[in-house]
């Protein structure tokens, strides 16, 4: 795949304007969907494409849409998850800032498919530029009849509203997001029922990530076979990879699903900083278990990374080199999860609190024999026992750091200091 698809407008000076978007075929997918396809046919196209959720869990998008009940009187809602809180992730921000119409067209086609007349885009409050650009784009799209009553002369009515988040990572968890949209504290709900059946205001609701929705117009115009032809058949498509940390060319890269992690870092992101060696990489935001350098020949797709004991997650690739202390990195990650725990369930709230204390003590050179076993026990107590995936993500990450870099933890305890400082 030489030509970028999702990022084709992001380097244009006026990529955020409707005129730029329309100039190379923008809103043709919406025209085509409304003019040539029934909603069910659009769902089928997305099913055939094997598009999987780019928010991190990789759930098949077409299948999720088909769970929305037909023939109910209740309104249906589409929610776009633009909360993007996973450390190491910045792809959704760049789409919204530089090519917001791509998202709006994705929203319109997706809403048509599931029968929703209203969409809420839940954007994290820090993304002020993205919010402004989206607002401007919504107004432009309205004026041109891509949104509003009778979209493009059809009988499809559709409006998009922005809901600003206010600084809570947990709002990215879809059911916590629904609580937040309903004006409540963002604490996750029990699933099932899944939101597709009973979501916002107890109505059928589809929640999709920004990048997932941005793929939809391309599937409609270029066809599902094109999409499936990129990357592995079971986890296909163009993919955005966010590369950051100790690497020469940090940035957002669009490459096929399944590209080797090593190739992404060495060939595209410029490899390690001068005179350094890569020690480890977190491939999918801090919820994803760390991979030691020896494991970098893994495909960046949902199934290959799961088989390798990690996960694609949000594709936030964080590069860690030989000057960094893994105990410190692990401590910082668990501090993050502890800070963002919503407090609803005990294993996450208390377990992470305890883990932070033990980790800080080890990093400070005050670790005691038995601390690592204590951390192992805490991971075991948290994993699989929490209400939402936040606790699981924290435990999986810590477990991987303890497994692959145990010698660094031991060195801290034995030397009674951090060997890196």
């Amino acid at each position: 795949m030489s030509e970028p698809v999702l990022l084709r407008n992001v380097d244009a000076a006026d990529g955020h304007l409707l005129s730029t978007y329309e100039a190379d075929g923008g809103y043709q997918a919406l025209r085509k969907a409304l003019g040539e396809h029934t909603p069910d046919e659009v769902i089928d196209l997305v099913k055939q494409s094997n598009l999987r959720g780019r928010g991190g869990a990789g759930f098949p998008t077409g299948m999720k849409w088909s769970f929305v009940p037909k023939g109910t009187d209740r309104p249906k809602y589409l929610c776009c998850n633009a909360d993007e809180g996973e450390p190491g992730t910045f792809k959704d921000r760049i789409i919204m800032e530089r090519d917001p119409h791509q998202l709006i067209e994705g929203l319109a086609v997706s809403a048509y498919a599931i029968g929703a007349e209203t969409a809420y885009v839940y954007v994290r409050g820090e993304y002020v530029t993205a919010i402004r650009r989206l607002q401007q784009a919504i107004a432009e799209a309205h004026a041109k009849g891509y949104l509003g009553r009778g979209v493009l002369g059809s009988d499809f009515n559709f409006s998009v509203h922005i809901h600003c988040g206010a600084g809570a990572y947990i709002c990215g968890e879809e059911t916590a997001m629904l609580e937040s949209l309903e004006g409540k504290r963002a604490q996750p709900r029990l699933k099932p029922p899944f939101p597709a059946v009973a979501g916002l205001y107890a109505s059928p609701t589809v929640i999709n990530n920004v990048e997932t929705l941005a793929c939809v117009p391309h599937i409609v115009t270029r066809g599902p076979a094109w999409f499936r032809g990129i990357g592995p058949d079971k986890s296909p498509g163009p993919k955005l990879y966010c590369v950051s940390g100790q690497v020469r060319k940090p940035g957002l890269y669009e490459l096929p699903m399944g590209i080797l992690l090593r190739e992404l870092i060495e060939d595209h992101a410029g490899g390690p900083l001068p005179g350094r060696r890569i020690k480890a990489v977190i491939p999918g935001g801090v919820s994803a278990p760390v991979i030691p350098e020896s494991g970098l020949d893994v495909g960046m797709d949902f199934d290959s990374l799961a088989a390798a004991g990690s996960m694609l997650g949000s594709a936030g690739v964080i590069v860690i080199d030989d000057t960094a202390c893994m105990v410190k990195v692990a401590t910082r990650i668990i501090e993050f999860f502890h800070h963002e725990s919503c407090g609803k369930c005990t294993p996450c709230r208390e377990g992470l609190n305890w883990a932070v204390k033990v980790l800080r003590r080890i990093e400070a050179g005050e670790g005691a024999p038995g601390d690592l076993e204590q951390l192992d026990r805490l991971c075991k107590g948290i994993f699989g026992n929490t209400f939402c995936a936040l606790g699981d993500g924290a435990a999986m990450g810590l477990r991987a750091a303890l497994k692959h870099f145990r010698d660094e933890f031991v060195a801290h305890i034995e030397a009674r200091r951090c060997p890196y400082h």
Partner: protein, 151 residues
């Protein structure tokens, strides 16, 4: 538009007025700088919702400030990517230059210093948000120039 009109406009976007509490708090905070008790009560009154619902959200979400903050809120990211790219040194530098610690405001009320979780701009780590703007690829020299520009 008055604050009340802005809040009414926001409320019209939802089938339930409770959903408009967050947007209303953002509007009120923009108006007043922070969210003291009487402002929260006014928001509850405008929306016609339980006061406790408004207070609960104002304290749950970190972007809402119930206490005043300085004219420039320096929010330095210290999550993993920024940490790996040197945010700790920047924090130390800010603390010594401004003579305040994390969570504090300078005596002249100009700067409040905070560390924050990932700002979603790790490609330009280390990053600091000041007001609405992101400043990336920071080092000590750039930081000094930035502070100079703000003063």
């Amino acid at each position: 538009m008055t604050m009340r009109e802005k809040i009414e406009e926001a409320a019209a976007r939802y089938p339930d007025r409770r959903s408009a509490i967050m947007p209303a708090l953002l509007i009120a905070q923009e108006e007043h700088g922070h969210l003291p008790g009487p402002v929260l009560e006014e928001v509850a009154e405008i929306l016609g919702v339980e006061r406790i619902w408004v207070f609960e959200l104002a304290t749950f979400y970190t972007l809402f400030h119930t206490e005043p903050v300085g004219r420039f809120h320096l929010q330095l990211c210290d999550n993993v990517s920024c940490m790996l790219c040197g945010s700790e040194d920047l924090l130390k530098h800010l603390e010594t230059t401004l003579g305040i610690g994390k969570g504090e405001t300078t005596a002249d009320g100009l700067f409040t210093l905070s560390t924050v979780e990932c700002l979603g701009a790790c490609e330009m780590a280390p990053v600091m948000q000041v007001g609405d703007d992101y400043h990336g690829n920071l080092d000590v020299a750039r930081l000094d120039a930035l502070l100079q520009g703000l003063r």
